[in-house]
Each structure stands twice: as structure tokens, then as C-alpha cells.
């Protein structure tokens, strides 16, 4: 009400503290994302999760690759690294091993993590490095202008599949699970509360956790395929997503404008790389001492 009165009186509204001031680099706002984009929502969920957990933000590092989602690192006010295309995960691996006290979040897009970084993804999952990966999947390479991605559903149009995509899309949760991730969930950027919850769980879980966020690309994916504005896509996700916790990951394929199964699919225990490394080191030390 105060603001309204101020407007009526044509007074300047004093800048109030935003609850996310501490976590976002406000000097970099406005951000680069288009209207109707879902990445902002994923960032909000992440920031909410950080605040809910009350973690020491000084010990959190956000690492991103290249692409629309790759810019996330630049907006989050923790130590943040914007690396090369696809190499966020190995960079994060080095960061984690260099300083095991850090909590590391890799925040990047589908092209970055599954396409060019696919190898690093499966091997980081295999090693079970203690990292949380938030993978924003918008079905397309948006930063470069709408090219086909490994996640683009079949028969969807993009600039490099001008006659419809004919490749089978990647199923990211299944890839993560088969490579050895310990926590795998998928939400759309509309499932704010659940997404936040999943990020918290993944963050706190030791080992390689992955949260996929299905997010609309209003600029390229939706425009080329005539799916309306970002809000229309959100609506579509709202109407067509089904929550099925624990669903076998092989059923999670996404077709063009088909039903999207969301939920938490994997939550298991495996020893992390650091634990194994520590164990190995101890063993070597005893061997050395004996010899």
C-alpha cells in the first residue's frame, strides 16, 4: 500500500531490500534471458533452496558452461565460474578435489551437459564426484539461434533440422542413472516448490546428483514450432506433466508436445570419489610404512 501511495504522490520509491539481494548479483540485473524463459525460474528455485538450507554461501561455488543457462553463474553471488563449452563438470571436479570443503553446483544447459559435455557427465557420474548438477533442458541450442539439440523431440523443427528432427532425443535421467548418479529428479520450471525441494535434497546428498529442469524456450523452440508464448508453454507443461516418483528412467523419453513425466526417480547410495580416494590413500600409506 505504501508503494501505491508513493506512486499517487509521485514520490520516488525508496529501494527496498529484496530477499534475494544476498544471493544474486543485483548489479548485473537485468539479466539476458528473454521474456517467457524458464531459466530465471530455475535460478529462483535454486536461490530459494540456498536460503532455505541456510548454507554458508561463501563455501558454495557455481560453475557454468556456455549457453543461455551458462550465464547463470554470472548472476549468482557466490564464487562463480563461467567456463568453456561443455567443460563445467571437469572444472568443477578440479575445484572439488582442490578444496573438498566447497559445495559445488554445476548449473548449465542440455547442450552443454549432455551434448558436448556428455563424456564428462557420464564420467563424473561414474566417479560419483560430490557435485549437484542442475541441467536446464529447453530442447534447443538457444544462445546460437535455435539449432537441433540431442534433447530436441522428434519431428520438432529447428534451424538445423529445417525439415523436422529425425534423431531420437536423449533421455537425460536415464543417462545419469546408467552412468551412476545417486540422485536423479526431473521437474518443469513450473514445479517451483518441488523443484526447490529436489535441489535441496540433491545439494545435501553426498555424491553426484542431477536435477533436470524442463524449461520453455519462448524465443526459438516455441516460435519455430508455433507453440505460442512462454506462458503458453508453461500452461502446456502444467496440463501435461505427470508426477511419478520412482518411475523407471527408461520410461522418461519426451516426445514432441507429449506428456512429460516428472518426479524423483533415483535416490541411492554409492561411495563417492573422495571417500574411495581417501581409502586408497590410507591403504597406500600402510603399505609404504610396512615396506
Amino acid at each position: 500500500m505504501k508503494a501505491l501511495e508513493a506512486v499517487e504522490k509521485q514520490e520516488e520509491i525508496p529501494p527496498t531490500e529484496h530477499p534475494m539481494d544476498d544471493v544474486l548479483r543485483m548489479d548485473r540485473i537485468p539479466h539476458i534471458w528473454c521474456p517467457g524463459c524458464g531459466i530465471g525460474l530455475a535460478v529462483t528455485a535454486f536461490v530459494n533452496a540456498l536460503e532455505k538450507m541456510q548454507v554458508d554461501l561463501d563455501k558454495v561455488c557455481v560453475v557454468s558452461g556456455i549457453g543461455c543457462t551458462g550465464r547463470v553463474a554470472g548472476y549468482i553471488k557466490t564464487d562463480s565460474f563461467h567456463t568453456t563449452h561443455g567443460r563445467a563438470l571437469p572444472f568443477a571436479t578440479g575445484l572439488k578435489l582442490g578444496n573438498p570443503d566447497l559445495k559445488i553446483v554445476v548449473f548449465s544447459g542440455d547442450g552443454d551437459i549432455v551434448s558436448i559435455g556428455g563424456n564428462h557427465f557420464i564420467h563424473a557420474a561414474r566417479r560419483n564426484i560430490d557435485i549437484l548438477v542442475i541441467c536446464v533442458n529447453n530442447f534447443i541450442y538457444a544462445m546460437t539461434g535455435g539449432q537441433v539439440a540431442p534433447t530436441t523431440p522428434r519431428s520438432a523443427y529447428t534451424t538445423t533440422s529445417p525439415f523436422g528432427n529425425f534423431e531420437t532425443p536423449s533421455n537425460i535421467p536415464q543417462l545419469a542413472e546408467s552412468a551412476g548418479a545417486v540422485y536423479v529428479a526431473r521437474w518443469t520450471s513450473l514445479h517451483m516448490r518441488r523443484l526447490t525441494q529436489s535441489i535441496i535434497e540433491g545439494f545435501q546428498k553426498p555424491g553426484f546428483s542431477m536435477v533436470e529442469v524442463i524449461s520453455p524456450c519462448a524465443m526459438y523452440y516455441s516460435r519455430i514450432n508455433k507453440l505460442g508464448l512462454g506462458i503458453d508453454m508453461m500452461k502446456f507443461y502444467h496440463d501435461n506433466s505427470v508426477i511419478k516418483h520412482g518411475e523407471p528412467t527408461e520410461n522418461l523419453d519426451i516426445g514432441f508436445q507429449s506428456q512429460i513425466i516428472v518426479g524423483k526417480f533415483v535416490d541411492r547410495e554409492r561411495p563417492t570419489f573422495s571417500e574411495l580416494y581417501k581409502g586408497w590413500k590410507k591403504e597406500v600409506k600402510t603399505v609404504k610404512r610396512e615396506s
Binding site: G118, H123, E167, L276, W280
Partner: protein
């Protein structure tokens, strides 16, 4: 001659496929004699890029039959592996799993660290379950044998070669003195869920044929989609 190459030789015979049309793409430096023995063209690419190289060959000349031998447990080339399987590129992939980089770290590591072996199957880290990865990305044929399962390996190769799509046979082939140990410590379980075939310490190695299914290949999907949209204007890719 390498046991696996021998099996491959017999496998080609049994499958009845044309050797002249066959190209072997590897990232392992095979002895040149292999070419004369098998009667195929051999392309030794740089480390990890064999699958991508073969992808280019297949798409340029769909008549070729491509056998890809990878030796590095899909570490460098893991990404190409995953995406070729997803696309269901018509490749026959043999992964020679020697549990380590034979060519690099043949010598024992200094000191008494027998456990310090460098590979995906490195004992500090947990090994990659390659059959599971292949299956979950869409491979149409997945099998695993040790190099001593000679007959089974030949049959498997003969069975897989004529199929259309991404086929994987993992062959466990550690250094000769350990071969028998692995052979004895394996059990055949056809059709086993690939999630359960990971190689673990103190556990028997599961071998057998795990997956056999049909999926549209990349080239078929490409042709179909473009015919649908372009009709007669579409020109299929063909050999020059």
C-alpha cells in the same frame, strides 16, 4: 594373431557379409597384418574418435559395413559412444576392455602399488558399466564375452553384424596371464538386466547377450522424415 581378431575373422565368415565392403575403424594401433588377414580396410584414427570417424563414413557411403574397435573403455570417446547409440547409427562396435591402458602403462607401477592401474576400471574409482550405458542410450544389440569365450564370441559377432543399428560387444581381454582367471570367474546369463552386469570386486563377471531389439536407424529415420516433408524433391544420400 589376437584372439579377438581371430573371432572377428570367423564371425565375418559366419555372417556371410562382404569383406570388401567392410571397414574397420579403430583407435588401437593394430598390426598391419590384421588387414591382410581380415581382408578389410583399416582406419586407425586418433584416440577416442573412432566412432565419430565411422559415423562420417557410414553417412557418406551407406553401403559400407563398419566395424569399430575401441580400446580405451570409451573414456576419451564416451560422448561419441553415447550419441552414436542414441542416433542408432549403423555401427558394429567392439570394445576391447583390457582393464587398463595396455600400450601406456604396460610396466608395473613403481613401489608396491599393484592397485594403481590407470583406466576406467581403475581400482580407485568405480568402473563404468558399458553394456548398461549402451542399452540405456538405445543400442540394439549388447553382449559381453571374455576373449576366451571363443565360440560364443564368434556366434555373437555373426549374429550382430547383419543387424541394422548400433551394436556393442564388450570383450574382456586383460593381459594374457589373467585371461584364464577372468574366464573361470565369469558366468553366462543371457538376457540379464544390464543394470546388474557392472563389474565389481569379488563378484563373477556376467557375460552373455543382454539386449537384442529393433529400432529405426539414423539413415532410415533421416530418409523417412525427409520423404515425408519434401516428397520427390528429396535426394537420398548414396555412395559416389
Amino acid at each position: 594373431m589376437d584372439k579377438i581378431i581371430e573371432a572377428f575373422h570367423d564371425g565375418i565368415n559366419k555372417s556371410g557379409r562382404d569383406r570388401e565392403k567392410m571397414c574397420m575403424v579403430t583407435d588401437i594401433a593394430y598390426d598391419p597384418e590384421v588387414v591382410d588377414y581380415l581382408g578389410v580396410d583399416l582406419f586407425h584414427t586418433n584416440r577416442g574418435r573412432a566412432i565419430a570417424f565411422a559415423t562420417g563414413m557410414k553417412l557418406s557411403n551407406p553401403n559400407l559395413i563398419l566395424a569399430v574397435f575401441i580400446g580405451d573403455m570409451a573414456t576419451l570417446g564416451g560422448n561419441h559412444f553415447v550419441h552414436a547409440a542414441r542416433r542408432n547409427m549403423d555401427l558394429f562396435v567392439v570394445c576391447v576392455n583390457d582393464f587398463r591402458y595396455r600400450k601406456v602403462a604396460a610396466q608395473e607401477t613403481p613401489g608396491d602399488f599393484s592397485r594403481l592401474e590407470f583406466s576406467s576400471y581403475c581400482s580407485i574409482e568405480q568402473p563404468l558399466n558399458l553394456p548398461h550405458l549402451a542399452r540405456s542410450n538405445g543400442a540394439v544389440y549388447v553382449a559381453r564375452w571374455t576373449a576366451l569365450h571363443h565360440e560364443d564370441l564368434i556366434n555373437s559377432m555373426a549374429e550382430a553384424l547383419p543387424q541394422a543399428g548400433f551394436k556393442l560387444i564388450e570383450v574382456i581381454s586383460p593381459k594374457p596371464e589373467l585371461l584364464e582367471f577372468f574366464y573361470l570367474n565369469s558366468e553366462i546369463k543371457h538376457g540379464e538386466d544390464t543394470a546388474k552386469v557392472g563389474i565389481e570386486e569379488d563378484k563373477k563377471i556376467v557375460v552373455g547377450k543382454f539386449v537384442e531389439r529393433e529400432r529405426e536407424t539414423f539413415i532410415d529415420a533421416y530418409n523417412k522424415q525427409h520423404y515425408k516433408v519434401l516428397g520427390d524433391k528429396f535426394i537420398k544420400i548414396a555412395a559416389e
